[in-house]
Symmetry: C3
Subunit: 361 residues, 3 copies
Amino acid sequence: MYLKNMWYVAGFPDEIGDHPIARTLLEQPLVFFRARGGQIAALADRCPHRFAPLSKGAIVGPEKVIQCGYHGLQFDARGRCVHNPHGPIPQVARVPRYEVCERRGLLWLWGGDPEQADTTLIPDYGDFAEAPPDATLRGYLPTQCHYQLVVDNILDLTHADYLHAGGLGNGSLTRARPVVTDLSPRSLHVSWKVSGEPTIAAFDVHLREQGKATEQWSEVTWTAAGNMHLRTGATLLGEERSQGVEAMTLHLAVPETVTSTHYWYWSVRNFAISPEANSQIQKFIEFAFVQQDKPMLEAQQRAMQGREFWSLRPILLASDAGAVRARRKLDQLVLAEQEMHRHQSNHENPTPQQPELGESP
Amino acid sequence: MYLKNMWYVAGFPDEIGDHPIARTLLEQPLVFFRARGGQIAALADRCPHRFAPLSKGAIVGPEKVIQCGYHGLQFDARGRCVHNPHGPIPQVARVPRYEVCERRGLLWLWGGDPEQADTTLIPDYGDFAEAPPDATLRGYLPTQCHYQLVVDNILDLTHADYLHAGGLGNGSLTRARPVVTDLSPRSLHVSWKVSGEPTIAAFDVHLREQGKATEQWSEVTWTAAGNMHLRTGATLLGEERSQGVEAMTLHLAVPETVTSTHYWYWSVRNFAISPEANSQIQKFIEFAFVQQDKPMLEAQQRAMQGREFWSLRPILLASDAGAVRARRKLDQLVLAEQEMHRHQSNHENPTPQQPELGESP
Amino acid sequence: MYLKNMWYVAGFPDEIGDHPIARTLLEQPLVFFRARGGQIAALADRCPHRFAPLSKGAIVGPEKVIQCGYHGLQFDARGRCVHNPHGPIPQVARVPRYEVCERRGLLWLWGGDPEQADTTLIPDYGDFAEAPPDATLRGYLPTQCHYQLVVDNILDLTHADYLHAGGLGNGSLTRARPVVTDLSPRSLHVSWKVSGEPTIAAFDVHLREQGKATEQWSEVTWTAAGNMHLRTGATLLGEERSQGVEAMTLHLAVPETVTSTHYWYWSVRNFAISPEANSQIQKFIEFAFVQQDKPMLEAQQRAMQGREFWSLRPILLASDAGAVRARRKLDQLVLAEQEMHRHQSNHENPTPQQPELGESP
């Protein structure tokens, strides 16, 4: 059960150009396209005539509407049929639409009723787009697991000590203990601090001196459902953070289906700023993910054999504090949403017909 | 639910030679082979001993019976065990048989009780085999969709204006309106006529003069369950049809499973009669199908997510008239068959044991 | 439903070295590794913390415990958590363990409660390991079918006359009739004898004279659930068996899942003892299996469409005597085990919590 009344990252806006893009979020096949004036539209990816995916069609005309590639019906950005080449426009010809918002280099989609979309709930991630291109990495890492396993992965960074031992882990995160702070019903902060030890190899090589005692920090802000802002860095012991190295990375885990996740990342840093370094670091990061995290996450998913996480009675360790707290918060948000929905169904809509996700009745 | 008491195309008879052929129709794995005298036999493709597919066996002996490749039981064209190398022939050793009929270059299979097979119900398609080989095309286009989506595809030819725009469509079919005529409870006729416009590129190039006003026609005769005879052509405005170009094509859509279709076609024409032209037109047709129709049909199937067609409440357009009428007719035929079956079960067979499809009790 | 309180072959012990090995038996993903002192351990392949497969971890320390590759928990050969780098060892952190036994070149795993494992039940196969290497073949032939289909295959060797006609079959086994002898509730013996005929090509070429009348024998001892010891040979008519050719082969069919089988074989012989002959015979055997048995077994599995064997009402032939007797015995063993389990649950454990397979409560 997904949290519906929430914003989910749907990708990077510059992916959406002259051609419609098919992308499934929260198990709903969607089509994204740029409508009149450059605004991005998101519709259910199914023509109501014969159910052809609209994403196999084209954007046509000065109004930049989407035309079904099978029999030519046209729909505008709000899902209204605006042209039927075979006769009058049927009143019922309408495609469910989704509210989307382009915000500072990210495309967000509201998972619930578009009329209730509240842009104040979009997490404020500052402006990653202002970082120098040579200090910026972006990528997409589709993973065959439930998106909450990706959230767990980032909220328990001690996994780096084992899964990424050598490059990203040296045991120090395990020795530290995470400090978890509630920020809101929809967000929390997990932080690790390590003082007096050499930092991880990936940072050490970029410090002014190697192999020296450092201050290290790793700070994640999680915002429901699967958004993580990670600030991690190191500086020589006794020096300011600003004299050291630091990376800020968005880890954005978005449910595609129950067993598959869209995983976008966007990372900026204050060191190793050159095309060569950038390319090298991208290879390093993608190796860690593709060769280490992804196989582990997918193996974890398979090992769970389709069962619900808590039903497997996981052993809880100190390092789980953040991940478990986030799961509890998300469970509460989903519960509250379902109760509100039930309440509305009973009182406002005595003979309810369950609307499809995102459909504006 | 399939219409059972009906003939389904099972392929081309010249496919059936010295070796048994496995082919699933209506979800029933079948084996086809040539028995004594060259007659084609169709049996359930499962030995009753250990369930090995008989199609993995061989045709043996002067009687040309089929021998199971696992332990050697032999069955004749009627599914009777005629040899057990391990001892006496067990009375119960019998394979369900299917009635087949070779007719003018097509192999037909009766989907129901073989004792009720009625060859007068086989559609009369004249003699495609008499056309010059250089004006003849035959092919097989397996498609991962419900066979009725293929029927819909042909009965609403306006899709050519969008999916095949340029080669097979120029918008004229959309501007015309189809005329639908009932022929029988099992068949109907859909026809489009366009007068005074240039014809589609695929025809225009073969007319005496290019880019001129023409008479165009497209006429489909559908016969249950998935047989379509399509006559389509063009002639210069004011001239006889016989002076123009015309192709006659059988589109034969046969259910393999609920989500896969055997699609055979057989096309003859009165123009471009040479080996080179034939080969070029075959490439053109297969491109249109493999690159355009097939991906759309399969995407449509996936977008329906396993749900029944009407339950998705499709928007009906003027161009759907033929396809919808055919679906209604087929629904009535299936309903009538089921009611007859229920009636027979209640009265003639008070303690019925549901026979398998095609099994002669 | 599997027979649980029984030994299953889990492979060859020399497969288990410095790295953990993942292998699923009886639908249970397991991890095998060599613990302290070289003893092989088998645990459920799922860390109780976050369900990562332990097989993706490493064997660490002088105690040779297995460390989870995700967050570093360590477990000993009995599944007890012996190290938690994140804090105190949780009492409940425990992985189900399985009893294993290394015996004369085979690794055996007890499918049930490890406390009840009884090594006297391991079949005595003598010492295949003592045969000359150039007369020894070992292999692994994974097959996508229920393991009992592999048992049926070996217990009805007449299939060689059809499936392996030419090399391994010449019709003589079909003409003989099998003699089935009960050995115990868990084992039986099936034997074919053919006298006065030339033997199969695979043996004939190795006899002192070719194409002569021979004595042939094929003797299988089946032990539940899927272990077969096959002795097969031929000698010239009137000569001692020891003057002829003979091969002894273990056919070990072990359920991986309901539709997949681990199939290990181990074969020794008294003829054709040289590296070249050995390599040639291995190719011959693997051809027969990979090109003939395996496709048939997998086709048989598919043709059964997931239905239970007896529910398909197989025709029984004289050649089935051994295979059917073995199936009946196995059914009785499973039934007895289930009744004992029910009895224990009712009396000893009035509020039972169903333990997982192999879990020691």
